[in-house]
Amino acid sequence: MQLKEKNGIEKKQSRMMRLVMFAIDRREVTLVILILALGAFLTWVSPNFLSAANFSVMLNAIGTDIIVAVPMAFCMIAGHSDFSVGSNVCLSSILAGMAMNAGASPIVGILIGLACGAILGYIMGFAVNHKVPTFVATLGGMYAYRGIAMVLCGATSITGFERSFLNLGRFTIAGIRAPIIYAAIMIIIGHFVLKYVNFFHNAYYIGSNVSSATLAGINSKKYLSVAFTLTGLFCGVAGLVLCARVGSVSVNTATDLHFKNIVGLMVGGVSNHGGTGSLIGGMLGILFMQMLDNALVMLYIDPNYNQIFIGAILILAVALDQFVSDYRAKVHT
């Protein structure tokens, strides 16, 4: 009798688990449903939500985040989360801005920004390839890069750029603003590259089991070096776009970019352990987090609560992933 009861409970549990596992496995579908539900709720609460202006503001804000998030996903799928991106965005745009203010042409300024970003990213990859744990290396980068920016720039912000440079972040095509266009291009190219270009698709093998991948002849060090350098390069791109859009840059630029992106990607199914996740899922995760952010504003909730939400969602998302993978391992042994 007791056994039967126990079995009954187990059956119920496993049915619920199956639903949870389906939701986790079809992450993209789940997120689209969540995004639509949240959108419907926000429309109901505030008719303002559906306005083109609100959408434009919301997407504009994540445009530059996504430019960085795409190559970050390339690192995360290989098992490495880069915390230095926000500081990299800041430092490379400050250097570019200072060069232009010192009389360099926009072209030269842009090249300096890109080169700086790529070098800062390469340094991270170099450290990781020399056995420094990624968390330590990129946390160190996050502090050091921001520190250099503070030394260079102090408390002032850098402004007064040429019109032609500012246009880079301010043009529109058919009413769509520049950052959104950049982000869309990044997502399309990123998705293709990750899925079809062999070199980058190997990220899944590296993230799933780096020893097996290396034994199988995949050059994981080379991959990491390239992925971190690309992340850095696109930090430079994002820094320039952000600088052009806002018209100024200071040491407070992109202070929590790393965190927002990592949380968004994880919610989107790109595990920080590597080996799983799709770019589309990750981008939907970032969009979802941005909508949540937007919702708090629309509901007139004190912005300070925002951090509580982001932190809690991060922990929940990771706990759920861990729970599901443990469950999977247990069920099949």
Binding site: Y196, N198, H201, Y205, S212, G217
Partner: protein, 503 residues
């Protein structure tokens, strides 16, 4: 007489998925003796010890200790009953000091506080008793030699009043001086009435130490005998081998062509691999036999650049290949299938298709673009050939049985079409049917002009599948046997480096 028996093993069996490690073993261990257990790799020694020490539980059968039938669920329970084990790989706290290691879980307490004085005094006393006068209670475990660490582990068991001490290949990592001191310690243990169970590959040690010797083979008990004058080392070898060879994996059915790979003077890590040279021809399967720890795995690891060789060259088709890492090896068309398929081989959370494609991602893409249709076609070929049982190519490899995982791994390596494939334990934990399918595929690859080198601990497998067998002992090439000259006695004599002729 019965009172003389401290442990009685009664019909103990243990099965793992696909393998029966112990098939009903029964024997008795006399109180206060040193009892050695010997047998080939995979004979079931370690499994039996794990059951005695509570790491695993038997599928069926009884362990009777002092007349009481016991089932240990974990090592702590076993120790409570007086059965303590020192494992081959020491499991102490490397970053803690000797005193904490010795009294872990039973640190002396006074007034609710740790009594440091007593802790250090007690530890000092025990260390002196064991002749470890040069060791201080505050020394970090990691700073001690392996021998000293091992003795401390034994001391730790005696503090907890163990009456039976199991030593699993304790001498494999020790220097000869340390071995001598360990043997001294074992004889003092005997004086104290402690029963010692000793597992070893080294027959001279067994001969020297044992009161009784138990031989296991293929999970079965062969014999338990007293260590008398008549029990010679060759007699022990004879007990360990001598089974009917029931396999035929088509050894010698393909023609050896020109020389494909030459390994010259491979050396690694002092004595692990010493000046090892051999040639592999096209169309040939070579076997490498040797005891575990003889350096056979390290030899493979050095060839493909997974471990950094001290010296030595690898030539492919007569040309020297500079191999610094596994990417180089892959470029030279050398593949290496490790024995640890879960950690160093497969991608457990990924699909069957992705696993089979893993080593051949470049071949299965065009101009750097992944060709999913080619990947699926290729994976299907191997799934069909080896009849891998899967629900679909998208199934995760972690959900497959050991045998099917091994087939996926072989498929992964053959997909890359290497010229040379090095395989460490091709059929570990795989049932008889799957073994056959794996070997048939290996032979098929060889018939197409490839070369394969196998390591196996199972001699019947080697003899049934290899065209030549090289025997390795302590990092050196001890001898070569050609097809037709094989016998387990010959291989074992070489592997144990027992130079006298047997049988």
């Amino acid at each position: 007489m019965e009172n003389n028996v401290i442990i009685s093993v009664e019909n103990v069996a243990k099965s793992f998925p696909g393998v029966q490690a112990l098939k009903g073993v029964s024997f008795k261990i006399r109180r206060g003796t040193t009892h050695c257990i010997i047998g080939e790799n995979g004979a079931g020694k370690s499994t039996l010890m794990k059951i005695l020490s509570g790491v695993q539980t038997a599928t069926s059968g009884n362990i009777v200790v002092d007349g009481e039938t016991v089932v240990f669920h974990n090592p702590a329970e076993a120790l409570e009953f007086g059965v303590g084990t020192v494992y081959q790989e020491l499991s102490n706290y490397q970053q803690l000091d000797v005193a904490h290691n010795m009294y872990c879980g039973m640190l002396p307490i006074k007034h609710g506080m740790l009594d440091w004085k007593k802790l250090h005094a007690d530890t000092r006393k025990v260390l002196d008793e064991f002749g470890l006068t040069h060791v201080s209670p505050t020394d970090m475990m990691v700073s001690l030699s392996l021998g000293a660490q091992q003795m401390i582990e034994i001391a730790k068991l005696l503090i907890r009043e163990a009456r039976i001490v199991i030593l699993d290949e304790p001498t494999s990592a020790l220097t000869s001086v340390e071995v001598e001191r360990l043997f001294e310690l074992i004889s003092t243990l005997k004086e104290k009435g402690v029963t010692v169970l000793f597992i070893s590959h080294k027959l001279d040690e067994v001969k020297y130490l044992a009161d009784d010797v138990t031989v296991l083979k293929d999970g079965q008990h062969v014999v338990t005998v007293e260590n008398t004058e008549e029990l010679t080392e060759s007699q022990m070898i004879r007990y360990m081998v001598g089974r009917d060879v029931a396999y035929d994996y088509q050894a010698g059915t393909s023609e050896a062509g020109e020389v494909l790979m030459e390994v010259e003077n491979m050396c690694y890590g002092g004595k692990t691999v010493q000046d090892f040279s051999f040639k592999l021809h096209r169309g040939e399967v070579i076997g490498i036999s040797g005891l575990e720890g003889s350096g056979r795995t390290e030899l493979f690891e050095c060839i493909v650049g997974w471990k950094k060789k001290t010296s030595g060259t690898v030539k492919m088709n007569g040309k020297v290949c500079e191999i610094r890492n596994t990417t180089d090896a892959s470029r030279c068309k050398i593949g290496y299938m490790t024995k640890e398929r879960k950690h160093l081989g497969l991608f457990l959370s990924m699909s069957v298709q992705e696993n089979i494609s893993a080593a051949a991602t470049e071949r299965l893409s065009k101009k750097g673009i992944v060709q999913y249709s080619d990947r699926i076609k290729n994976a299907n070929v191997f799934v069909d050939k080896m009849s891998i049982k899967i629900s679909g190519l998208a199934q995760r490899v972690m959900n497959l049985s050991g045998g099917n995982q091994q087939k996926v791994l072989l498929g992964m390596w053959l997909s890359n079409e290497p010229d040379v494939l090095l395989i460490d334990e091709p059929t570990r934990g795989v049932d008889v049917g799957a073994k056959r399918e794996i070997h048939v595929l290996i032979r098929e690859a060889v018939k197409q002009g490839k070369g394969v080198v196998l390591i196996s601990s199972e001699m019947p497998e080697l003899m049934a599948s290899c065209d030549r067998i090289l025997v390795m002992h302590e990092g050196k090439l001890k001898g070569e046997l050609k097809l037709g000259e094989y016998s387990e006695e010959k291989i074992m004599s070489l592997a144990y480096s027992n130079m006298q002729q047997v049988g």
